[in-house]
Symmetry: C2
Amino acid sequence: MTTKNYYSKNILSALKHDPPGAWMPVVPDGCVRLSSGFPDASLVPVNEIQQAVTRLLNAERDLPLHYVGSPSIDQLQQWLLCRMNERNIHIKRDELLVTSGACQAIDLIARILIDEETYIVVESPTYMEALEIFQNYTDRILTVPVDGNGMQTDKLEDLLAERKLKNQPLPKVVYTIPTFQNPTGTSLSPERRKHLLELAETYDFLVMEDDAYGELSFDQPVNTLKSMDQAGRVFYIGSLSKVVAPGMRVGWIAARAEWIETLFRFKKDLDHPFAQSVMAAFLEETDWTKHLSNLQSLYQSKCSTLLNALEACMPEKVTWTDPKGGYFVWLTIPGADTGALLAKATEAGVSYIPGQYFYLQQENGLSQMRLSFSAADEGEIVEGVRRLAGVFKS
Amino acid sequence: MTTKNYYSKNILSALKHDPPGAWMPVVPDGCVRLSSGFPDASLVPVNEIQQAVTRLLNAERDLPLHYVGSPSIDQLQQWLLCRMNERNIHIKRDELLVTSGACQAIDLIARILIDEETYIVVESPTYMEALEIFQNYTDRILTVPVDGNGMQTDKLEDLLAERKLKNQPLPKVVYTIPTFQNPTGTSLSPERRKHLLELAETYDFLVMEDDAYGELSFDQPVNTLKSMDQAGRVFYIGSLSKVVAPGMRVGWIAARAEWIETLFRFKKDLDHPFAQSVMAAFLEETDWTKHLSNLQSLYQSKCSTLLNALEACMPEKVTWTDPKGGYFVWLTIPGADTGALLAKATEAGVSYIPGQYFYLQQENGLSQMRLSFSAADEGEIVEGVRRLAGVFKS
């Protein structure tokens, strides 16, 4: 028997693409991991989570270990609603769905909106996992370039106007990471945010706002698209992965109640009572303002260290973005092939993610790379940049 | 804007059905919950899981709280492979996918095999959540009745032969819970197991074997379909929900490596490092043979209590199944409408699940109900049956 003869016709187009994670570079031991989008190990609240488990199971006993029934699950939802409220996103319980991280959130939204005839727009470059998810649903993916102020919404408008003029189908969804974008670290300017939502109204599309890094601002808090979304066109995607711990798998969607009801219908991993209850118990005893402020100042310091090291070591032609938050800096090395260079870099003891993996048309990212300042410590960052500069110069 | 105008065409047929859980009866406080498919509270290893978390985080610190990197995740996979091996399912690492419980496993398999043109077969009655999942993919669902020896495979053969004769499309997948079935508690006889796999070969279909209750045997272990599956047509679905704790959300799929690779592509909630690592740490310190034997003897005793209480209290016309394992007994009350009776029953202080919810054609289950002996304690079971008998007699 040939296993592939049995597949649903709805997945045949997805199977034409590489399997997920196929791009993931293997990083040898001893490398400085400027590739890693993990949170800083010292900021992962190991002891606090241990204590949260103890408190939770002492208080609730077997409840968080059943399918439903732990009061802590309600508590987590309540906490997320409050958090949304503080970010000027005023939603009710039926406008919230807790997910297993942002990835499941993106997948669920794609599931209810996108079929193989649907056109969508993504930023170029964009989050590679999101690209993989969208390619499970459609090949009709359009791209809009990102600059130092995020997605170039004037180019989006050109694209939409041209398609309309030519009577081509218009995109149904625009996926954006407007704040401290993965991979560039840049943010959509307030003017462009307004412009994007106006375009959504004029050209009748929906917006997926991936805000995984939104709370990690080095300056003032950044206003979300969802907080400006009068028309209810925005699916807001939140995550505690970058601000608490990714291994807990807690993310969420804020959207119109009708959509939340439909999303829930397709979320077949059920709730995760233990993980969600532990998260609730952790959050209950956490001074969130102080917690965030700790994260912000450490990541800001690490970002400065990275930028200073780049300034000190890099050949003149190399340029980079200037993030105001998040985890990432985006480098451009004119004429380089960062994919080909990676083997030399890891040999020299430093890893990064080659730019190509963040592009639908991979050749667009040949001269670029993503550096992360989140996981490595400051000494490693300095050493990693020194090693990288050595590779560029050789 | 009308939200439903934006939906993917692939979900429109799913939206014609009731939203998930719409059937769930609200059980008033003070009711004996013979409806509940939860494990017995006293068997949920609360203290052991608390200790597992402490051991895990002391030993691995932040590792299980990141996306990947905890050695315990490997350990869980290794444990599952050993467990499969002990049940005569000899698979390698690339033939295993850990999922968020059996529900996600069923959903993922449906995702890769079933589209709106696919015919499938389910048992009648069957697990209601599985029905909901399948209806998210297709309306072409055929049913085969279950008796005291599980699915009536001779009727399945009749159905297949007739469809072939009439040149009608044949089903691609048969979903079965062959051991201690939900809801009937019955098991597929060895002869029928063999027959089912022969039919799969002759009529070229695949089998989804949901084995959530398979280890909860009161007698000898029951051979799985997967252990007899020479042709590689069986997707085995396992779960630790009924034997450890559902709130941990640990299930798995054992199938051909090519299929596992494809299933992984669509599993977009990523791994669950914390929950899976805690499970691994718990299992490492658990004498599984002793653990299972405790579960088996307690559930056997509760099952006997339920059967004896039924024998003592029920009017003569009421009949029930005689499970050799699992969580459930299935009652038939000729002429009753168990859906309509539920309000009276909860008023009298006892709950059950009306039979209709386990049927594609709900009218087939009017005179039936599922009683669970898993969650209520023995005293409650006796009292619950007494109350139920009172309702039937009035």
